[in-house]
């Protein structure tokens, strides 16, 4: 298994190289002077010259790429135009709200979607199954911001149960944190819940026809034990894949959710960077999120090998 892990880690390197190459070419091939894009509208001629010097624009393209890559590997992600601070430290400051939101949303997804999917598969063809399935079509078809504003209208403007927007750190107390994160997390989780519930149902249906399920029932196990201990355990791998690959889904969701609920996280940072044409920040965010995406896929692949002993490489 260790050899497999090493192989997977090595396979991730070319993927990240392609991402880096892509981000690099995006800037170089776009119309206009890369130095002017990096420097922004306010840059003086001296600053532009310094940037050109730093980027090595007079050197051949492949040399520029490796110089840039070398800087990245040393943690030099260039400087934000908006804040005049390093891109990495800027991202670090905005990490907590986004991480809280994503973790709460993922927890919500697993807690809601997996039982729903199991129920739907267990009572296949019943009204419950039909309801879960049709609501889930809505769940991943209705855009995040529509769900966000719909939930806000209901729970904040009509019922006054929850606040319209805002964020409090969990370090300021769990109560205020939960009070403000509930709606954004539910909004972000909605599409995810729909997908995971469908996948849980489909994956469980595949398994429920197996002999060992009949055996488990025949030896008198309760339905709960049959469903969760025997069926779900064997149906787990595709469900895990959806939960993991839903990360990409969550990134676009985070960008929108943070805008709807005015949460000062990475999503807001991207939107602000786009509005300010702050290319260094956009570039840093793409590299970072792609890296995390590759890393999560790596972890999922490894967790297969650990959680399902039938998978051997």
């Amino acid at each position: 298994m260790f050899a497999y892990f090493v192989r997977r880690v090595l396979a991730a390197i070319p993927v990240m190289l392609v991402v880096a190459l892509f981000v690099f070419l995006l800037l170089r091939l776009s119309p206009g002077d890369p130095a002017a894009i990096i420097g922004g509208d306010m840059a003086s001629p001296e600053q532009l010259a310094a940037i050109r010097q730093n980027l090595g624009l007079d050197r051949p393209l492949h040399v520029q790429f490796f110089v840039w890559l070398w800087q990245l590997l040393h943690g030099d992600f260039s400087t934000s135009l908006m804040a005049h601070t390093g891109v990495l430290s800027m991202i670090g400051q905005r990490l907590e709200p986004t991480l809280s939101l994503a973790l709460v949303a993922t927890a919500l997804t697993v807690l809601v979607a997996v039982p729903l999917g199991v129920l739907a598969a267990w009572r296949r063809g019943s009204w419950l199954d039909h309801t879960v399935m049709s609501v889930s079509v809505l769940g991943f078809s209705v855009p995040v911001f529509v769900i966000g504003y719909g939930l806000t209208t209901l729970f904040a403007l009509q019922l006054h149960w929850l606040p319209v927007q805002g964020f409090k750190s969990i370090f300021d107390g769990v109560g205020p944190f939960a009070y403000r994160i509930a709606l954004p997390a539910l909004t972000l989780a909605s599409a995810h819940i729909a997908l995971v519930a469908r996948m849980t149902r489909a994956s469980l249906l595949d398994v429920l026809g197996e002999d060992y399920i009949r055996t488990a029932r025949a030896k008198g196990l309760g339905e709960l034990a049959v469903l969760f201990r025997h069926a779900l355990r064997n149906a787990w791998v595709p469900i895990l894949t959806v939960i993991g690959s839903g990360f990409a889904l969550m990134i676009s969701g985070v960008v929108v959710t943070e805008s709807v609920f005015n949460i000062p996280g990475l999503g807001r940072l991207i939107v602000d960077a786009v509005l300010a044409r702050d290319y260094p920040v956009i570039q840093g965010m793409i590299l970072l999120t792609s890296g995390v995406y590759v890393l999560i896929n790596l972890l999922i692949d490894m967790s297969y090998a650990i959680s399902d002993p039938r998978i051997r490489y």
Binding site: V15, S141, V142, F145, Y149, V260, L275, R277
Partner: protein, 288 residues
């Protein structure tokens, strides 16, 4: 060893003749979509206010006989703006679906057939797929001018790898079939082999995938417009109607919710049609 011909073959592809009557939801979805397309194409006939017509004296009015859904913060007719907004959404959805299939199909055929090309091409596709689509689109739009074409290219780029992978996987399994071997032995040219023998295997799943790409492109366009990284605000789109409406959301939720309803209806309908097409064309194929 050769097996009996009737075993192990996929279900016959032409199933239109045996197509069961569509369920109510699918029929409704088709109707909604047709209505939206009709409204988009003949937008001037369905509205009696220009979507850009300003009327500062009539800002933020409620629904009335004159303004069916009320007016926005500049006194523009919300209903007209939503009708015209359908044009952008449907153009982007259809355009992205057609072009990403048109670009992804040949790439996938080549990758599936030529082993040497495959390794290189698929690494590039893996890299492209690792970048979250929305961020890629944002980066492209923020680097160039924000026109319809830029937005479409930006949305298309992350979709292409999906098409390539799908086509490639179909080609990989089809190229082992005896009829492909027979065609090779008969000296069929590579082009003809790809176009006549391998490509037809990919069409059914591509129709389904194309439908989902259409829905996802409409969604991404709306998100880009909503974030201010779409086509300019002078053209009404469902995304920028929502973005402008959100400033007055607590006062007039309708400014956000009506465009949101149009957008959701459109995407739900396309997804339902995609599901129906999948069930009809290939019952074994599961949604990604």
């Amino acid at each position: 060893m050769s097996k009996p011909v009737s075993l192990g073959l996929p279900a016959p592809r032409r199933r239109w003749a045996k197509l069961p009557r569509p369920p109510l939801a699918v029929a409704l979805a088709a109707l909604v979509l047709l209505a939206l397309i009709g409204m988009a194409v003949f937008a001037p006939w369905f509205t009696h206010h220009a979507p850009q017509a300003l009327a500062p004296a009539l800002r933020l009015k409620g629904p009335s006989a004159e303004f069916w859904l009320g007016t926005d913060a500049y006194g523009r007719d919300l209903y007209s703006r939503i009708v015209y907004g359908a044009r952008v959404s449907l153009t982007v959805g259809l355009g992205v679906a057609v072009f990403s299939v048109a670009i992804g199909l040949p790439l996938g055929l080549l990758a599936g057939y030529f082993r040497t090309l495959d390794a290189l091409l698929m690494r590039v596709m893996d890299g492209l797929m690792a970048v979250p689509g929305i961020l890629l689109a944002i980066a492209i739009v923020s680097l160039s001018s924000a026109g319809l074409a830029t937005v479409m290219v930006a949305i298309m780029l992350p979709e292409i790898p999906q098409v390539v992978r799908l086509v490639r996987s179909r080609v990989l399994s089809a190229r082992e079939e005896p009829y492909v071997e027979a065609a090779v032995l008969m000296g069929t040219s590579t082009f003809k082999l790809l176009a006549r023998h391998l490509m037809p295997n990919t069409l059914a799943p591509l129709i389904v995938q194309g439908t989902y790409i259409c829905a996802s492109a409409i969604l991404t366009e709306a998100i880009l417009s909503f974030l201010g990284a779409g086509i300019g605000t002078e053209t009404p789109t469902w995304g920028n109607i929502i973005a402008e409406g959100r400033l007055y959301f607590q006062l007039k939720p309708g400014l956000v919710l009506w465009a949101g309803l149009a957008l959701s209806l459109c995407i739900v309908s396309i997804n339902l049609l995609g599901d129906a097409a999948r069930d009809a064309l290939d019952p074994r194929m599961k949604k990604r």
